[in-house]
Subunit: 250 residues, 2 copies
């Protein structure tokens, strides 16, 4: 079982390319994530610059690869898997500030210390950029900065939505909002929500307890709004009712 208290780098880093003395750009060119991430703004011709800057890293489930308060040495681009971002209080209370999936960019910080921690939910693959190398990259590709600004803007909007949720919504509204966000994120029109996170993670994300999350999901099931399947998957049975609940119209 992964130890949640020790937040160590248990990753296995290796260079993107293993062939030849130079790191090859083929990896980036064939990267399925490129279209969805900051990397998309770098042309094929310049991709070598990108490839030689990145280090591929694998993070095992439950492992922490960003330690809250630790020195901010790297930026990360997630190429596979899902991570949770969180902040903690000295007595152990936790708030998950977001879940970051494939294509997400992590580590934006003016300070030289990370303001949050990051832990892998499942096996996560990511590209790692040292701060110094990233700075050179941004100097050479100003379009990356624009793209990062877009991403940061989107995250700010999400953060504001989450503040509304945490500050003003009831437990039922929070869980409904969460499920809808997830189904949006999964781009699955059938209404099946994959939940790679535990009840504890959902609770820490919604500012609730495990018990309240569980009770609320049971209530949604009894009300016929969702169906709870095997293996952490939930099917949304009454989308309009759930949407009304999530937006507080109920």
């Amino acid at each position: 079982m992964p130890d949640q208290t020790t937040c160590q780098f248990e990753a296995r880093p290796r260079r993107i390319s293993l062939a030849g003395a130079h790191r090859s750009p083929e990896y980036c060119l064939s990267c399925g994530v490129r279209g969805r991430s900051v990397c998309s703004v770098v042309d094929d011709a310049d991709i070598a610059r990108l490839a030689e800057t990145a280090v591929e890293t694998l993070v095992l489930p439950g492992r922490c690869f960003i330690e809250e308060g630790g020195p901010a040495t790297d930026f990360f681009n997630i190429t596979a898997g899902t991570v949770k971002l969180f902040k903690a209080l000295p007595d152990g209370r936790r708030q998950i500030t977001g879940f970051a999936g494939t294509g997400h960019f992590l580590g934006l910080a003016v300070s030289d210390h990370y303001a949050f921690g990051a832990e892998a939910l499942d096996t996560v693959r990511l590209c790692r950029f040292s701060r110094a190398r990233m700075r050179h990259l941004l100097d050479d590709f100003p379009r990356m900065e624009r793209r990062l600004l877009e991403e940061a803007s989107n995250e700010l909007v999400a953060a504001q939505n989450q503040m509304l949720l945490l500050g003003r919504k009831t437990a039922r509204e929070r869980v409904a909002s969460f499920l809808l966000d997830r189904v949006q994120d999964a781009l699955d029109p059938t209404g099946v929500v994959p939940l790679p996170m535990t009840r504890a993670d959902i609770a820490d994300y919604l500012g609730l307890t495990i018990e309240t999350v569980s009770r609320t999901l049971s209530w949604l099931r009894r009300e016929g709004m969702i169906a709870i399947g095997k293996g952490h998957a939930i099917h949304i049975a009454a989308m309009p009712r759930l949407e009304a609940l999530a937006s507080g119209d109920a």
Copy 2:
């Protein structure tokens, strides 16, 4: 009395410069806010480009100048006063997502609709940039984009802190955190916190009710941690105890 429900543009816009056919750059050159805002990255030589892009606007206390969900037509740079940013639910519940003061840049959004509303707390002066003009400005001054990215990063960190507060802190911890943030913001080492906002605003910011905010401030006073002065000003009497409370060490 300002009507909070109608969120209209009650501002009095006028061009920055009134002298001559061309808008003069003197306004920006002598602007006391320039050093603290995105404008600082534009050299004196190029300041005319900046000046001709901005429109000075005055917003009266209690007036809304960004309507949540309305078309995102402009960006804003606050040159005087304080505004509150908020989101609302259909039934009237509100969450203030932040207070923005002099030098702050508003309106970052990828969407063409504002994700939040903004209302003046006191008389607010701001520079207004249309989206189209702003885009040209960013094309010409890439350093502005970098500066905006820094500002967005800082706001993200603040948003994450606020999520921790809203999701996991008690009422006492929230109020203590709020007072400390304010004193930090005011750069006043004497520990006097100016509070230009009402109890209702504080409550909507901290995810509490007016009554709880009031009760908690009274409790802090009884405990000797603060002194409540005239005219919405609070003096912090026991900084270390307040800090311990805010961080959850109590």
